[in-house]
Structure formats: C-alpha cells, structure tokens
C-alpha cells in the first residue's frame, strides 16, 4: 500500500507544471510618477516611457496607450488554470500637447498561480 501511495505521489509530481508568460515591458509606478499633469509634454512622455503601443483620439484628446500582459499557468495532472491580466496606462494630452490626465491600472499585481479550475 505504501508503494502504491509513493507511486501515486511521484505520478502527481511528474504531472506538475508552472508556466509564466509576459508581453510588453513592466509599467513601473515610479516611471508613471514622473509624469506631471499640466507640465510634462508629449515628447517628454515618449522620451521617458518610449513609444506608446497605441495612439487614440477620443473626446477631443490625444491619448497614449501603454499596455502589458502577464500570465500564470498552474498545471497538476487533471487540472489546470491559466490566469491572464493586463496593466494599462493612458496618458491624455490637451490640445497643446501637455499632459491633461493619467489613467493607470495595474491588475498584474493580483495575478496568482492557481491550479483548481472550479469556482470563481
């Protein structure tokens, strides 16, 4: 019986995997903090954060959109769960090309390795 239990444990360990994947550079709080409303210009934002992933025009504003994806996969024999979350930074400019507002959401801080696929 002990041998059977040992074999079962080894089998479970053999079918175990943890995988992580990222797309895009990390958006750091300290980098975002250097951008000041009413002061920082479009050129300065591009110099500090690099070129945006997307430039959007909405409600009379030009918006730089920076994004990053992070994923964590937990796999244990019969069960697996892949969690994916994104960080999004929007820098809104006024008509003079000066920062009007910043919208920054960091979801990847709460990203977890999980195996159990049931429930929430």
């Amino acid at each position: 019986m002990l041998t059977l239990a040992t074999l079962l444990c080894l089998n479970l360990l053999a079918g175990c995997a943890f995988v992580r994947g990222n797309v895009g550079d990390e958006l750091k709080n300290e980098d975002v903090a250097t951008i000041k409303k009413g002061v920082t210009t479009r050129a300065e934002v591009a110099a500090r954060l690099g070129a945006p992933d997307e430039i959007v025009q909405a409600a009379g504003r030009e918006i730089f959109h920076y994004r990053r994806y992070d994923s964590k996969l937990g796999y244990l024999v019969f069960f697996s769960r892949l969690n994916i979350k994104s960080d999004n930074l929007y820098v809104l400019f006024d008509r003079d090309g000066v920062v009007d507002d910043i919208v920054f959401g960091k979801r990847t801080d709460q990203l977890k390795f999980q195996v159990w696929p049931f429930g929430d």
């Binding site: 909405a58 959109h65 019969f78 769960r81 994104s86 929007y90 507002d101």
Partner: protein, 144 residues
Amino acid sequence: MTDHSSGWGTVTVTVGFLVIMLALSGCEFRRIAINDPIRTDDVAFIVPGHTTRSEVVAKLGAPDEVIGSEEQAVFRYRFRVAKIFRVDFSWILFIWSPVTPDLVLAHGDLGTDVLQVVFNSNWVVQEHAFANQSPAARFNPWPF
C-alpha cells in the same frame, strides 16, 4: 480450508483503484481566465449624466481599450472565462492493448463579456452597457 475472501477483497479494491486512476488520467479540466469578471452590481454606482471618468476609473480601474470620436470617448473593459473538459478513453485500453487509438470527447465553453462606458466631451458618463453578455462558461464533455 484457507479463507481467500480477504485476499480477493484487497485485489478487487486495488484493481478498482487503478482503473479509476487510469480513467481519471484521461480527464482534463482546464480553465482560462482573462481579467476578473465585472458584474451588474459592480456598475450600479454609474449614473448617466453625473458619474465622471475619475469615478469610473477609481471603481473599475483602467479600461482595456479606449475608442472614440471628437465628441465622445468609450471605455471598454474586457473579461473572459473559458472552461475546457476533455476525456480520453484510450487510457482504459492501455491496460490490455499495446495500441491506444484516440477515443476523445471534449468540449470548450468560452464566456466573453465587454463593459462599455460612453463619455461625452466633458468626460461625464452618457451611457453604459454590457456587450455580448453571455452565460457563465461550464465544464461539459459532450461535444454533440
């Protein structure tokens, strides 16, 4: 006379256990979750004509996408859950057959939702709605 009943009982339990484990080995429960779901209760605070962009961002975080025109902006929050259940019965054949052809039943269920919040040029909410609101994804092996 030797009592073989307890010996046969152990063999039966062991074989039964192995068959169950082999059958389970053919099962796969997979889940893929992209962002946390946003529910109707989560957007109850939004009052068209009053709620501002800052209030929306404070409660829901940054959107996944912003689209718009000269007069409007639309915040789009995307969230998805996919559940995949797969059973491969060829594991059972492995007991007595060196050849194990695939005997697979599998089904994937993807629930996709988008919350759209529309702002006017003063960044006050005009309207909001869930697009493609779908029933929660389920584990279901039957593909037919």
